[in-house]
């Protein structure tokens, strides 16, 4: 209750301030930390297990997702998509990898690797300064019916991203990135919504990703913090280790 009141107060102050001039990007990004739960709550989190569903509605494809993450930068995710099978991916000790029935095992490199490692940073919202050395407010735009601050986020490696934060709530509404992969660079718009409280942190539970006219919906069903995750959960599969050894020779 106290936290909610604090959030409302913060939103009010932020909105009043925003009416006068464009706030600095760091103000908007720090404000996001506050409205989603506050620095102290974020800092108590050391691991996260989330589950959800994935759907390409227009194509009738559905699947499930499970993602494990731990501080400072470990992830392991698995996706099962009907008719496609299992896709595993992970990041650990500076290595980003993926393994699927379609493409086999592979170790990521270049922009794709740096993007994956960036996304693997635990408590990414809290650690935005580490992830994006440069952040600038680029204007105000209406996105998904909401008036939003537009922020340019430039990582140490890779393309600049554009994030949109609601003037009214301070919550992120959309992020535009250029996804890097061996298949090339693909512009991706990700609209996030339906924020819910998980262990004191507000997190979006609906993610709509649009690429070249196609739409993918990810729905988060559960998020658990500080659960015990087996130490070997983040170990890359044997095939990935073999590729790493091969590359090292």
């Amino acid at each position: 209750m106290i936290r909610n009141i604090a959030i409302l107060a913060a939103i009010g102050a932020f909105t009043a301030m925003a009416d006068d001039a464009l706030p600095k990007a760091e103000t908007i990004l720090d404000h996001y930390i506050e409205v989603t739960g506050g620095k102290a709550v974020y800092e108590k989190r050391t691991s996260e297990i989330s589950t959800g569903t994935i759907e390409f509605a227009a194509q009738g494809l559905k699947g499930t997702l499970t993602r494990y993450a731990a501080a400072p930068d470990k992830t392991y995710a698995t996706m099962e998509l009907d008719g496609v099978g299992k896709v595993e991916s992970g990041s650990v000790n500076g290595v980003a990898w993926e393994k699927s029935a379609m493409m086999g095992p592979r170790v990521k490199s270049g922009d794709e690797k740096s993007q994956s490692l960036r996304e693997a940073q635990f408590n990414g919202a809290l650690n935005w300064r580490k992830i994006y050395p440069k952040a600038e407010t680029a204007g105000v735009e209406t996105v998904e019916g909401q008036e939003c601050y537009k922020i340019s986020l430039t990582p140490a490696e890779g393309k600049t991203e554009t994030a949109y934060f609601s003037k009214k709530t301070g919550l992120e509404v959309k992020r535009s990135t250029v996804a890097a992969s061996p298949m090339g660079e693909v512009p991706v718009d990700a609209v996030v919504s339906e924020y819910k409280d998980f262990g004191g942190i507000l997190q979006p539970t609906k993610l709509i990703q649009r690429v070249a006219g196609q739409e993918l919906v990810i729905t988060i069903q559960s998020v658990k913090f500080n659960e015990q995750i087996p130490a070997d959960k983040f170990d890359p599969p044997a095939e990935i280790k073999a590729l790493m050894n091969k590359a090292a020779q």
């Binding site: 390409f56 493409m103 994956s116 693909v186």
Partner: protein, 456 residues
Amino acid sequence: MFVSGQAKKGVSGTPRGFACTAGVDRSLWSRLARLELMRSLLGILLLAGTLRAQLTPGQKQLNLDSFEKVWTTIRDQHWEKNPGGLDWQAIHEEFRPRIEKADSIDATRALLREMLDRLHQTHFAIIPSTVYSDVDVTLGDGSPGLDLRVIDGQAVVTRVDPGSPAEKAGVKLGWAVVSAGGKDLAPVIEKLKSDPSMHELMLERAVLARLSGPEGGKLHVVFLDAANRNVALDLDLGDPRGIPAKFGNLPPQYVWFEAKKIDGAQYVAFNMFLDLPRIMGNFGDAVNSCLKCDGLIIDLRGNPGGIGGMAMGMAGFLVDQAGRKLGTMYMRGATINFAVLPRPEVFKGPVAVLVDGSSASTSEIFAGGLKDLGRARIFGTKSAAAALPSIIDKLPNGDGFQYAMANYISDGGKPLEGNGVIPDQEVKLTRKALLAGHDPVVDAAIEWIQKQRGPK
């Protein structure tokens, strides 16, 4: 029914080929399937004898909504801002009043198909809702277990499935089908061949469709045997070859995979790029179990395509250089490389890929890309030239709508659409060779592989 595989029921009602492009996201793009679909035969086979029923005002509105969805999708998703070089707004103004007057679902479908035909591009189709209804029943369509090709105007048996009713009844390779269900095939073939828009793939499927029926039933078929004598058989109609697989909005399809050793080479064939986990696993096992074989023969004759990404994944077993690609897909707002990611173990020997006029879509992407990379020698006849990546969506009236959302250019710089894959060595099937127990295309591939190997 598929020429070299068998689709389930609804032979004439099942979209042949497919694939949808599953959406995308930064890291998900590479994991998700892009499917290519080739043009459905449905329009041709179902349009003529369906009943006309009066539409309720609600059904009329659903048909109008369906028209708007089809028109808008092409306006927004087609890779060209002026789809097919047309004034797309003018197309709307022409067709909307006609759709409003359409008094049946069939009339609506016919108009939608007429509109799509204006594009003069493959992979645009309307799939009747009946194909989707009662999926389990659809999975029950019966097949005698054989495959056909039209050779010199005759429907000739090119494969008899092991253990199938056709094999049990004594049907042999090279026999020609005279009639099925009391209907002569020659006039059907002649009529279909007279249509210049008819792909070889569509022709063969239309002919093969005549050899199907309710599962558990019987079909009276008259063949010409090796001595050109009539042989009349009542063939049981059983399960099609393979295992049923489902992918998104695509109606269920039976998918089979075959691998065997022929004269020191590994031969693999599969009827579709579908059932991804199983077929990729089978393909990987077949290649990895034969890394020291004299050569690899990949038979894609009759394979209409499927999930585009599988072409990339399979190429990874054959190409050991990173940074290569089969081709490039151009969508509105994105350009996607069909990248080849070498597997931990790669087959380095000679690779022969067999194609014919019924090899379409992903088959063409795979064969054409490997040819352009200099990694495979192509044997057979020119492929279907129908290689646009497409997806299948559902319309408000319940019909399916297949649309291409990208153009595809093979690594050699040419679009496969309209051009196809031209074999390095053209080899045609002949009835005479089949009757003698030979497949001249496989024979040519074996001969080439043995030349690469040199004397033992």
